[in-house]
Amino acid sequence: MASAPFHSDLGLPAEWRDYVALTKPRVMTLVVFTGACGLIAAPGNLHPVLAFTAILCIALGAGAAGALNQWYEADIDALMKRTEQRPLPGGRMTRDSALYFGVALSVFSVLLMGLATNWAAAAGLAASILFYVLIYTIWLKRRTPQNIVIGGAAGAFPPVIGWLAVTGELAVLPLLLFALVFLWTPPHFWALSLFVRTDYAKAGVPMLPVTAGNRATRQQIFGYSLVMAAAAVAPWALRETGMIYGVSAAALSLLFVALAWPVLRNQSDDPAAMAPEKRLFKYSILYLFLLFGALVADRWVMA
């Protein structure tokens, strides 16, 4: 609070930009992208207006989950450099404002999804928000070093919701995409948590490097990379996609594992000597974008 005396002490109304910041717009890009890819990969035709609305609802739902996450985590966000300037720890908004905003946006996005597409997609969206807020943020994040594994499930919902918006029912491919994002999250996030470890330790969040050490974390990263690579090529192996996706998934995943290898071999505890971790983290984001891009390209060429 002391960092922003002018705003907080006068109790000014929050700027609209702070509400936007509450929705974690940068996280949203990946959510929107994977959701849109799930929607495009699904068989059948959704009118462009309804497809746009479905993706908008996925984005708003993710934003609502982000707002509720920041409502609950204002205390630990204030202790970490990466998050201390968010609207709540920065003292630019009251906690109640974030709560009302998050709840209203959740209800709005779910209802709009149901009205525009179908109620299976709306149920999926509601489940993803509840999972992220209740199971991950409130229940498990502060209790178990496996928090990231569980949080990954929340991030894996969007392609399934996109698929549901078109078809109204589940199938093998969206479940495989769910598994892929689910298994991708731990190596992605643990790579980050290795080089920002001091922050998590300070906030008392049981991040794996804090509880199990860097060596165990690096072993987990490598192990998950192998399983993730298998999940990435599974849609092709099971003949759910064509060659374009299959070859792309194999090549991209091979590079992922190749970048995870120097992470496994790295012995250093000094963030300055964690170039392999930083490289893997950056590549992991590109990896998911390219992989889902390949899925869409595959669909378009096959169609």
Partner: protein, 59 residues
């Protein structure tokens, strides 16, 4: 209803050392928030209209 807005309900103005500039700032923020809200509502109306046309037309 919003605790963040001191101009609604009983204003804790007595504690503020610089009420004039603070009030101008409050008004400025309220204006920009209202504008964004109006744009969002307008977009929502247009979207709902488009959804209705598509869904009713498709039946």
């Amino acid at each position: 209803m919003k605790k963040s807005d001191p101009l609604e309900g009983a204003a804790p103005a007595a504690a503020s050392p610089a009420p004039i500039s603070a009030e101008a700032e409050i008004r400025r923020r309220q204006r920009s928030r209202s504008l964004v809200m109006a744009l969002a509502l307008g977009a929502f109306v247009v979207l709902l209209y488009a959804i209705t046309i598509v869904r009713v037309g498709g039946q």
